[in-house]
């Protein structure tokens, strides 16, 4: 006879697979690259870090300036419920943020008082280790970055973060953004987001927004690899602790006590 049904289907399937494979492979091999130069005014660092002075922050009761400013310029939505909540920087009671350092006889000033928490931009980030698409990765300057275009929304990074720093967009955030900042994108539902040390501001020589607006100057930002930097000086002169240091994540947000 000639070719039978099974053979025909097998050959057709293999041909189709080959054609699709060639096309996708072909596209990726002809990508063009151009010379791309860094701008002079961008802040360049080797190991960005943040220092938070708890006592300075506690001067102002109920202050939310840093959180509001960050969430405003980054179009972080406010869903109004804890289930869908998205936050990049927020307050936690001392015992929650720094559980390794609490005790029944905790210094009165810190008991039940709020402490600012955000992504720690760990030097050994477990979230980066588990991301299956490299939608989150550690930059050379230490910032743990997010690529919202690539994120598939598997939330493995959310499970991997020991600090609860990451938020997932369970629904479309657009209707819940109060004062849209037209110069910064929003996210769409189905992707993870978090603090990125204001990478887009560093590129133009600006400090992270939270650092800039704090009325008590409780937040300091700088390059730990630069021996002349302010953050190095502060850590040299003051005792600082970090969140869950025993896990080996090497977090880069330091808390002055």
């Amino acid at each position: 006879m000639g070719i039978d049904r099974r053979k025909f289907l097998t050959i057709a399937g293999l041909t189709a697979a080959a054609a699709i494979g060639k096309k996708t492979l072909g596209d990726s091999l002809t990508a063009d690259t151009r010379e791309l130069l860094p701008k002079d005014e961008s802040l360049v660092g080797k190991r960005w870090a943040m220092i938070f002075d708890i006592k300075k922050c506690l001067h102002k009761d109920g202050c939310t300036v840093c959180m509001d400013a960050c969430h405003q310029i980054h179009n972080v939505p406010d869903f109004g419920n804890k289930k869908d909540e998205v936050k990049w920087i927020w307050k936690e009671p001392f015992e929650h943020a720094l559980p390794d350092n609490e005790s029944p006889y905790l210094e009165e000033e810190f008991k039940d008082k709020p402490v600012i928490v955000m992504c720690n931009h760990c030097d050994n980030p477990p979230c980066v280790r588990v991301c299956p698409t490299q939608a989150t990765w550690k930059r050379e300057d230490g910032i743990v970055m997010m690529d919202m275009h690539r994120c598939i929304g598997c939330r493995y990074c959310v499970a991997g973060c020991p600090y609860g720093s990451r938020s997932f967009n369970w629904r479309d955030p657009r209707p819940f953004i109060k004062n849209e900042n037209p110069e910064y994108p929003t996210r769409e539902r189905g992707v993870v987001e978090k603090c990125d040390f204001c990478a887009e501001r560093l590129a133009f020589g600006l400090q992270p927004r939270c650092v800039e607006v704090c009325p008590e100057k409780a937040l300091k930002f700088g390059d730990l690899e630069d021996p002349e930097s302010e953050v190095r000086q502060i850590l040299h002169d003051n005792f600082a602790i970090r969140r869950k240091p025993g896990l080996g994540t090497n977090p880069q947000v330091y808390y002055l006590v």
Partner: protein, 403 residues
């Protein structure tokens, strides 16, 4: 051969029709989830993996359990499993497909799924999970179809299939080990980060999978002419008994380490499961039910007198399956998140949408397994409504010399 799956009695079509209805309804709910986002589930910022991923975890175990029939038959020539092996392999195919579907419906951006392949990331266990699951699916589809086609032609399977079958044995172990690694490597989640998680997964897989296979064999014996054989079912019962004992033993090991070391970060998760935490007692009745069922199942399975009674064996298999489903499919995933890294005790329970989508996925698995089994049993002439001489006549006609 595939055409056998689309011919059948009224009862067959009634069952298939019911499954397609379940699938269709699940699909409609999935469309709702696609349009609104995963907010339609019970998941939250603190509990970011829930029912879908728990079903995925449970079903990876069920899929891996095919090795419990493949290994004795192909490696050790245990002839009693001859008739049942292919049912185990098709069963694995249906389970793996359900696993992949559960991951798909859990993704926030499912249409970007290709990114895992376009940007391979060997340091991520999810990458490897996709790799081993796809490989296992491919292996089992290949093996099942080749073996069945050979049976249909009345010849032995070709020699080249043997290496694939041998590889599928360690590969089965690997799929559940890799899935366990997804959890057990996370320093952030003390409940999961235990070396005993992978052995626990395998032990529970090798009890729940064969238990379901026994139940399927008994059901199939009622509705078709297929009889797996008393020896095969008894051997499977012994396997379930040993595996369940080992599973419970490992759970006790975990309990000891947690309770004796008394570390709050580890203790709190078990406290939540068995006693409730901060008033959140969602899983407490479920976990105690699972414990009771586990004890009952071991008592019934270890005692040869009760195990040899097929009715009691069937009941014991149901208790094994339900007990392990509660442990893996309800307790394990969610408890990793409760309490949260910041010490909160969030609440989680699947919503109706989540449940209906899950039923749709289970429906797809059940449909696939139904189609495969129908095909297999038709080829063997064991369907009651079909003549069992049909195949022999066809084969005989082809073998007759022309003229």
């Amino acid at each position: 051969m595939l055409e056998k799956a689309i011919t059948g009695s009224k009862k067959y079509w009634a069952w298939v029709g019911f499954l397609m209805l379940v699938i269709f309804v699940g699909f409609l709910f999935y469309l709702r989830q696609l349009s609104h986002g995963l907010t339609v589930t019970g998941l939250s910022r603190d509990v970011s993996w829930g029912f879908y991923i728990a079903q995925f975890t449970f079903l990876v175990g069920v899929a891996a359990s095919a090795v419990m029939v493949v290994l004795p038959y192909y490696l050790h020539n245990f002839k009693a499993f001859a008739k049942i092996v292919i049912l185990g392999e098709f069963f694995a195919v249906g389970s793996v497909i359900m696993c992949m579907l559960f991951v798909f419906v859990d993704m926030g951006q499912p249409f970007r799924a290709m990114n895992i392949i376009l940007h391979p990331t060997p340091n991520s266990l999810m990458f490897w999970d996709l790799f081993v699951l796809s490989g296992y699916l491919g292996l089992n589809v290949l093996i099942s179809l080749i073996v069945l086609a050979s049976e249909r032609k009345g010849i032995a399977p070709p020699k080249w299939i043997k290496p694939f079958i041998i590889v599928s044995i360690p590969w089965a172990v690997s799929i559940h080990t890799v899935t366990a690694f997804l959890y057990s490597g996370l320093a952030a989640r003390a409940f999961w980060m235990t070396a005993v998680l992978a052995p626990r997964f395998l032990a529970s897989a090798f009890s729940s999978g064969p238990a379901l296979l026994i139940l399927l064999a008994i059901i199939i014996r009622r509705i078709t002419r297929f009889d797996a054989g008393r020896e095969a079912i008894q051997k499977l019962g012994q396997i379930v008994a040993y595996a369940m004992c080992f599973n419970v033993f490992l759970i006790l090991m975990e309990l000891f380490t947690t309770l004796y070391s008394d570390i709050p970060e580890h203790l709190h998760h078990f406290e939540f499961l068995f006693f409730g935490l901060d008033g959140n007692t969602t899983l407490v009745p479920w976990m105690w039910t699972s414990v009771v069922l586990a004890i009952v199942s071991i008592v019934l399975l270890v005692n040869p007198k009760t195990r040899r009674n097929e009715n009691i064996l069937a009941f014991a298999c149901v208790t094994v399956f339900v007990s392990i489903w509660i442990d893996k499919g309800l307790g394990m995933v969610v408890t990793g998140f409760i309490p949260s890294p910041l010490g909160d005790v969030p609440h989680y329970w699947p919503t109706w949408t989540e449940f209906m989508i899950s039923m749709g996925v289970y429906g797809i698995g059940a449909l696939l397994i139904t189609l495969f089994y129908k095909m297999t049993l038709s080829v063997r002439g064991q369907i009651k409504s079909e003549s069992n001489t049909e195949e022999f006549e066809e084969v005989a006609a082809e073998a007759k010399p022309a003229g």
